[in-house]
């Protein structure tokens, strides 16, 4: 592990202050704005967790809804018998386990297979859960009654987001993070310098999936009533992809830049014109491909580099401390 430099310590302090300031929000409002804030923090957490894996590997994962639903269902099933903290841990382990299985089956192969597999994963888990519930239990829905209100969920999500950022930061500075950058550049070279590329990818996918599972678990009390179609809603997967790509996946904080405007716009559109959300998603995907392939952050970086003097920005230098 490399010791953090002065610049990083400063950034860390600033980030901590920022988190503290945001954590005060429920003191001022616990209506519409808090609800919107929960949505935003949820998507920031989801998109950042998604980017942990998909950013460096360029594999487009659509498994978010599956992990999220596994988390939600863990809480739904266990809330009567177990403390909430234990359920978060179980959600983490379960979704990490599913991520390991999916990763082992598909990550050795080309990216297309992975996309296709994850595309149907949420639907697959949903079918299995529905089938088990209708055939072996009394009913389809599950009630989740807890003491938690919107602001508790907000604080838990915010805390988890901080953990995700810290994890991402630690990974970037570790051998695993360096290995991922090499894999992203040239997988053949990566294997020939001794990197077990499949293991590195599966490991990262597990970390990403486990976080998403915890997010789903935290959100369960908000739903109060859990049904397979709402817990395994495939739209979540797509929204996470589009927001993360809009923001840009080259930086850990890139998705944040995409989430905030998109969540607000999407909320507004689905309230005013509920039939137009698909079109909005479609246009957003096309915009990412044709207009801003590196996301908003990538676009801003390129712009800044241009303004600074014509030449392309030199490759980012990792801070190695001797």
């Amino acid at each position: 592990m490399i010791r953090p430099g002065a610049h990083e310590i400063r950034m860390g302090v600033l980030a901590a202050l920022g988190f503290a300031a945001i954590a005060c929000l429920p003191l001022f409002d616990d209506g519409y704005y808090l609800s919107l804030a929960v949505n935003i923090v949820m998507y920031v957490a989801l998109c950042t967790a998604w980017t942990l894996f998909s950013g460096p590997t360029h594999y487009i994962s659509l498994a978010t809804a599956a992990f999220f639903g596994i988390g939600t269902y863990t809480v739904g099933i266990g809330i009567e018998t177990m403390p909430f903290g234990a359920l978060l841990a179980i959600a983490c382990v379960l979704s990490g386990f599913v991520a390991a299985l999916v990763g082992l089956a598909t990550l050795r192969l080309s990216g297309v297979y992975f996309v296709i597999f994850t595309l149907g994963l949420a639907e697959l888990v949903r079918q299995v859960v529905t089938w088990v519930q209708t055939n072996f239990t009394t009913g389809i829905g599950l009630y989740v009654f807890t003491e938690f209100t919107e602001k508790h969920i907000f604080w838990m999500l915010l805390g988890l987001t901080a953990v995700i950022y810290l994890t991402g930061w630690a990974i970037n500075r570790s051998r695993l993070g360096f290995a991922m950058r090499i894999i992203g550049n040239d997988e053949t070279v990566a294997a020939h310098v001794g990197i077990d590329t499949a293991r590195a990818k599966v490991l990262l996918f597990i970390v990403s999936g486990a976080f998403i599972g915890i997010i789903g678990a935290i959100l369960a009390p908000r739903f109060a009533y859990i049904e397979p179609p709402s817990a395994f809603n495939p739209m979540i997967s797509f929204q996470v992809v589009i927001m993360a790509l809009l923001g840009g996946t080259r930086r850990l904080w890139g998705p944040l830049v995409g989430v905030i405007p998109f969540t607000i716009v999407f909320d507004a559109v689905s309230a005013q014109f509920p039939n137009h959300t698909s079109i909005l998603m479609g246009l957003a995907f096309l915009a990412v491909v044709y207009l801003i392939p590196n996301g908003i952050t990538g676009w801003i970086e390129a712009l800044v580099a241009k303004l600074k003097g014509g030449e392309a920005a030199p490759a980012r230098k990792t801070r190695w401390i001797a």
Partner: protein
């Protein structure tokens, strides 16, 4: 036996969708994730021709398929060729085309939702029993199957016995070498993409005669088509047909013996087995 026949009848339509996709991915190198939306659009097309203009759905294939051909040609020329041109390698093109076709998927789905709403549609065409091995089957299913077989055979003959078909197969094997022997790769790719769209649309027209459809069901068929293509081996016509048969029968078996809610689980089981044991597909060659 009844299950087997139902499965085989269903697989005819599946095979057509998969053939369309395998042409688009195998030749034009575009993994078209909006293929299900093409199918659904064709369902609505056939429905409209039948209910508004009283045109027989089998006859309207001759309208639906050419329209799909033209539309897909434009999609390829305007939206996808720029991606092919800017991609530095296969991986970049794959990511770009996946994202772009996701965009198209949502866009088409949104437009169809606006036009037709989220309700289920169906119409009655040849809804009379037809006996096979002593059991009655919907005549519309039988007609759809026969039409699918005819179209598939026509495609096979075109690809293997005509000059242009051979050129398309050459592009599928190696676009660079195909260019070197004076094949217009860009045109062949556009043609293959458009032809793939037309096949998928034909499948949609046939499907609408016996299937209840709605604007947002496309992605389910995209999944099925993708799995068939991968099972059969990308770009392989025989493989796609065989895989479609396996999938159709497996689905019907699971639906009638265990639970209709588990058809996707059955599909996925086949998919996982393929990925674990034969990722190159039934007829595919092992990658070096």
């Amino acid at each position: 036996m009844e299950i087997l026949v139902t499965g085989v009848l269903l697989s005819g339509t599946y095979a057509l969708i998969a053939l369309g996709l395998t042409l688009q991915y195998g030749v034009a190198r575009i993994m078209n994730l909006a293929t299900g939306e093409t199918l659904v659009a064709a369902c609505f097309g056939a429905f409209w021709f039948f209910s508004a203009l009283h045109i027989n759905p089998v006859a309207s294939l001759f309208l639906v398929a050419p329209i799909a051909f033209v539309v897909n040609w434009f999609i390829y020329a305007l939206l996808l060729r720029p991606l092919v041109n800017r991609a530095k390698n296969r991986g970049m093109l794959e990511v770009d085309s996946i994202l772009a076709t996701f965009g198209l998927m949502f866009l088409f789905q949104g437009l169809m939702l606006l036009g037709f709403g989220g309700e289920y549609f169906s119409y009655s065409f040849l809804a009379e029993p037809f006996d096979i091995f002593g059991s009655p089957f919907g005549l519309n299913r039988v007609v759809a199957f026969v039409a699918a077989v005819v179209i598939a055979i026509a495609l096979y003959v075109f690809l293997t016995h005509t000059r242009y078909g051979t050129a398309i197969r050459a592009v599928a094997v190696d676009p660079v070498s195909a260019g070197l022997v004076a094949i217009n790769v860009a045109r062949a790719s556009a043609f293959a993409f458009a032809l793939g769209g037309a096949l998928t649309a034909a499948a949609g027209g046939l499907l609408s005669t016996f299937y209840t459809f709605n604007a947002s069901m496309g992605v389910v068929f995209t999944m099925k088509a993708l799995i068939i293509v991968i099972m059969g081996g990308v770009g392989d016509v025989r493989g796609a047909v065989l895989a479609a048969l396996i999938l159709g029968v497996a689905e019907t078996t699971v639906a009638s013996l265990i639970d209709p809610g588990l058809t996707l689980a059955a599909t996925y089981f086949l998919f996982i087995v393929t990925l674990l044991f034969r990722p190159q597909g039934i007829y595919g060659k092992k990658q070096a």
